[in-house]
């Protein structure tokens, strides 16, 4: 069984028998951990599935880190409560959010009259991404008892989100239709 354990550990970016560096809390009885690298990969997989299936769009991961600051943005957050959980957020510019909402609703950006409809659509994209992320996390850590929250969506100009959690975070910037969309996962303490 050693090689299966090695495969599992390699996938998680860890060494056998040692907890992952910068990883989140050990959850299962078998000391399963998920590293930052692994969670980034899962976020990319989950978001790719959502964008491809619901929006017919492919995402491209930005290799050079975060894009320039998004001044006027829409931010959707959803928490995965429970030991080993965290909060997944998605942020993009208002223009990008409107375009994504239009794509989701198979209409044009101009036909979406209400900002509330844009927020609802972006909240749903975050919800589906978090749902898939949870599925993969629970598959990797069968003892994790994670619960999805209802999404919260915030819009505004030039604001900064400060995390009070000391659990660390992972940022996954991607491009959709040549516009940046930033996913972030903040680990619970």
């Amino acid at each position: 069984l050693q090689d299966l354990a090695e495969v599992s550990a390699r996938r998680q970016g860890t060494e056998i028998g040692k907890p992952a560096r910068d990883s989140w809390t050990s959850i299962s009885e078998t000391e399963t951990t998920v590293s930052n690298e692994a969670i980034s990969k899962l976020i990319v997989e989950s978001s790719s599935l959502v964008f491809r299936t619901m929006l017919s769009e492919e995402i491209a991961v930005l290799k050079n880190g975060e894009p320039e600051k998004i001044h006027s943005c829409v931010l959707a957050m959803i928490s995965l409560s429970g030991p080993g959980g965290g909060t997944l957020s998605l942020r993009c510019s208002r223009e990008t959010a409107r375009e994504l909402a239009a794509k989701l609703l198979t209409t044009t950006p101009n036909e979406i009259k209400s900002d509330a409809d844009v927020c609802d659509a972006i909240g749903e994209v975050a919800n589906m991404t978090a749902g898939n992320l949870k599925t993969q996390l629970v598959a990797a850590m069968p003892n994790a008892n994670l619960q999805l929250s209802i999404p919260t969506v915030v819009t505004g100009d030039d604001y900064k989100v400060q995390h009070l959690s000391h659990g660390g975070h992972v940022t996954v910037p991607v491009n959709v239709k040549n516009a940046p969309v930033v996913f972030e996962f903040v680990f619970n303490n």
């Binding site: 069984l1 495969v7 659509a121 919800n127 749902g131 629970v138 598959a139 999805l148 209802i150």
Partner: protein, 366 residues
Amino acid sequence: MAKKVLTVDDSKTMRSIVKKQIMTLGYDALEAADGAEGLQVAAAEKPDLILLDVTMPVMDGRQALIKLRQQPETAKIPVIMVTAEAAKATVVEIIKAGVSDYIVKPFSEAALGEKINKVLKANSAAAEKIDVVVVDSNGNNFSIIQGALQAEHAVHLATTGEQALDKIMTHRPRLILIDIGMPDTIRLQVVDKLKTADLLPRCKLVALCNKNSIDEVGRASQKGFTGVLLKPFQGEEARTLINNILQTQTQFACRKGDIFVLHYPTKDEVVLFSVFRQLLQGWQQWLGHLAAGGHTKVVIDIAQAATIGIDDLRFFRELAGKASELGIGIVFVVGEPKSFELRHFWESGVARSTATLEEAKKFFQQ
């Protein structure tokens, strides 16, 4: 008059997407923004189908489903649960709650349309009342099955082999449940009668087995049953499993020539998981049965499996090793390995794996 489909979701976006698909399919679309509102609309409009989101404020999908089933006017409306997560525990919970089907977000319009049509069609067929025969000397099992199915199906009891043959000719059933504890000659007579009446292709056989008897489940797996219902069972459990079996073409265990084939349940057959796991958990006895029955060639088809984890793979390797000691060859059909673990299983050669059932058969012919 067009059928009415109600979508209950707190997301206006999702309601809009689902409503559009409902109307494209030619049905009337109704909507509600949470479970409480969904109950009101369901009671007032009596829709033919409800699409119910799991996670919602005010009243979530689980609570709403319980209330729907408690109200006589909405108790029999089929429900498709809509969920953002496909974790095994969540899916099993949804299935057990008594829904007709579930769909995981994100989904394509085509997938949603297929689910809606499938459930509406199944419900129309159920309205015609499918005949089910229970061959069982124990009246308690019959009472539970009849109680669970009587709204959708006509259930008939046969306590002897003679009665069973009579009921088959009278009712031409689509499903026969046979207590595995009854003499095997009855099962053989039933199968013969179905063959001569040309009913075998459309009639499915389900074995009633004791939950704690690996022996009974093992025997059922070798006798060509389409499924297994484990005793003791709750009415809802029986209803879900039986309706699932009526809608699926898969046989969980069958013989193809001299090869014994086990199909790992797909994501649409979650109710078969417990049976499959029970069978495999008692694998030592199961292998003993196979060896005693002269089976030396076994194929375990995991290509369409809903979930395969590291524990499963560890177990498969152990199973293959033990089988080899008993002179039984096991080949795993893994299809195009989708997960990392499955790819590793395929590449490592720890157990014989092929891409298709045909390749597995060829392997045994060599």
